[in-house]
């Protein structure tokens, strides 16, 4: 197709959006709400993931060794730990280091009277690959010789990761449902345009316009609606997210993910989703008309 022909069809598509503006605005609004809901679900899930990660990262499971174990025996325990499948890493944490850390955290003064006595055991700091297998892994660690006890914030991490998987499943279905709803509403809008332009469609077909020529303006209409909605959604989501997160972080002390770190990613997904949904709506709606001939198009 020649550029001149194509630019004419794009102009026609944009005219469709404008001539049918009430319906176009309605479609844009529906698509915006769908995209924002979808985006919120994804952002929520990303935050929870980040939280789970930070919890499991900064609070590795500490495996305390029995008192009086020699350094060599400690190395053997470390080797056994690393052999357990779910353990990503086991870092030796000698009691001297632990003592120093303790002192640093609580203040030197408290320990002045201890005169070098160190009541702390040697330990390993263990990180796991898959937190959902936490219990099995802990059982395996406990079974090892030389292990005294295990401490961690396992419950929090576990609960967070189960929330995360729930959110992910839920958002998948929300995204799917809203996607279908948007598709339906935009196709209806385009169908309204098509109805008001059925006369032109019938003339185009009678003078020998190809299916592509009849179709492109309506696909352009859908894509335009999708693009407008995705740009507005991106901007709206930034403000919405910042607003909600400033409230959330003032209530509970957690580190929230800054929106700017993912904004381009979000924008890209929105634009893609908008364009695909819009184009698909155009394609679906025009199909019926392309099959009709002559007066059938006009409904006579």
């Amino acid at each position: 197709m020649r550029i001149s022909g194509f630019s004419y069809l794009i102009k026609e598509g944009l005219k469709n959006v404008w001539n049918n503006r009430i319906m176009s605005i309605a479609s844009v609004c529906v698509l915006i709400s769908c995209l924002i809901l979808t985006g919120s679900a994804v952002l929520f899930s990303m935050n929870v993931s980040q939280l789970v990660e930070s919890v499991s990262d900064s609070n590795e499971t500490t495996v305390y060794l029995e008192n009086g174990l020699s350094k060599v025996e400690a190395v053997y325990v470390g080797r056994d730990l690393k052999k357990i499948k779910n353990i990503a890493d086991a870092q030796y944490f000698p009691k001297e280091e632990a003592f120093e850390e303790f002192k640093g955290r609580l203040g030197e003064e408290l320990f002045e009277n201890m005169k070098g006595d160190n009541p702390l055991p040697d330990a390993y700091k263990v990180t796991m690959t898959d937190l959902s297998k936490y219990n099995e892994t802990v059982d395996k660690i406990k079974a090892l010789d030389g292990v005294q006890k295990i401490s961690s914030r396992k419950e929090l991490a576990q609960r967070l990761s189960s929330i995360n998987s729930l959110v992910q499943t839920l958002s998948f279905w929300i995204v799917l449902a809203l996607g279908i709803i948007s598709l339906f509403i935009i196709s209806n809008t385009i169908r309204a345009t098509m109805y008001s332009r059925r006369f032109e469609i019938s003339i185009m077909k009678s003078v020998g316009a190809t299916d592509a020529f009849v179709r492109i303006p309506f696909v352009v209409e859908g894509v335009t609606i999708g693009l407008i909605a995705s740009v507005i959604s991106t901007v709206a989501l930034v403000f919405l997210y910042d607003g909600i997160m400033s409230i959330v972080s003032s209530l509970i002390h957690i580190e929230v993910m800054p929106i700017m770190s993912v904004i381009w990613y979000v924008a890209l997904i929105f634009v893609l989703a908008g364009v695909v949904i819009g184009a698909l709506s155009g394609f679906i709606s025009i199909r019926k008309y392309l099959k009709k001939e002559g007066n059938e198009i006009l409904g006579w």
């Binding site: 020649r2 006369f199 032109e200 003078v207 020998g208 190809t210 001939e293 002559g294």
Partner: protein
């Protein structure tokens, strides 16, 4: 002469069971001007739809420009239609566009270059005598003018066939003559013209080939004798009078009687005594 449209034993039965065309055969040559006449429901519209590939025949073969359109692929249909310009009874003009844009629309719809549109549209508007109305809306024009816009739109893509479906149905008689004259002028340039009409005055006035379709059959064709003869009476011999409701029969017989007397008058003026079989037809219907 090269054949441009050829129907070979074409039948069309709609899903509803209506037999719109029944074993119809007809051939139209390049550059011909043909009137297609017949009562409403006779199958004229189906005939046109089959040519335009808006319908496909149930049986038989249709050739347009030597191409078997019954076997044509769906995506080739638009290119078939670019050979044809269609003029509708109800004009089918888009009122939110100017006259110029209505004509240009047909070119843009098939992807013509803007420069070609700029060159061609004024030329065609001049041809139909509407240069001064280019910026008007169709609703501001008279019926005859609107039909000329419709004709300009049909002509703008330089088709080899113009198909006019009752082009004079919605305009007054004087304008009707003008439209057919215009079509006749276009025909002189070599474009094949097909005009469906039921206006006998027009058909009689222009000495062209006349094909009569009744009940889905080609019942009379002035070309059958090998030469073009003036249009005479509609041949109703195919109608079984028991099928026809009394009112219709009465209407037909009145029409036949009138046509008969007119032709007798015309022929006697020319000093040719008229004595045809049509007198019997008329009495057949009455009976």
């Amino acid at each position: 002469m090269e054949k441009i449209i050829e129907f070979k034993n074409v039948s069309k039965t709609y899903d509803s069971g209506t037999h719109a065309l029944n074993n119809a055969s007809i051939s139209i040559e390049k550059g011909e001007f043909v009137f297609i006449v017949g009562a409403s429901g006779a199958g004229k519209s189906t005939f046109l739809k089959l040519i335009m590939h808006e319908e496909t025949p149930s049986r038989g073969t249709i050739l347009v420009n030597g191409v078997n359109v019954t076997k044509i692929k769906r995506r080739k249909v638009p290119y078939l239609r670019r050979n044809m310009g269609i003029v509708f009874q109800d004009f089918r003009l888009i009122d939110k566009m100017t006259v110029y844009d209505n004509v240009a629309f047909a070119m843009r719809a098939i992807g013509a270059r803007p420069s070609a549109v700029k060159k061609r549209v004024p030329y065609i508007l001049d041809l139909v005598g509407l240069s001064d109305k280019a910026k008007n809306r169709p609703s501001e024009l008279s019926g005859g003018e609107q039909q000329r816009v419709s004709l300009a739109r049909a002509l703008v893509n330089n088709p080899s066939i113009i198909i006019a479906d009752e082009p004079t149905g919605n305009i007054d008689p004087e304008m009707s003559f003008e439209i057919i004259e215009l079509l006749s002028k276009i025909n002189d340039q070599g474009t094949t013209i097909l005009v469906v009409t039921h206006e006998h005055d027009l058909v009689r006035h222009f000495n062209k080939r006349v094909v009569v379709i009744e009940k889905g059959r080609v019942v009379s064709d002035t070309n059958d004798d090998g030469e073009s003869v003036p249009y005479q009476l509609t041949d109703y011999s195919d109608i079984d009078s028991s099928d026809v409701p009394p009112q219709t029969a009465e209407k037909i017989s009145r029409q036949v009687a009138q046509e008969f007397s007119e032709i007798v008058a015309e022929n006697s003026e020319e000093g040719q005594p008229y004595g045809g079989s049509n007198a019997e037809v008329s009495s057949d219907i009455e009976g």
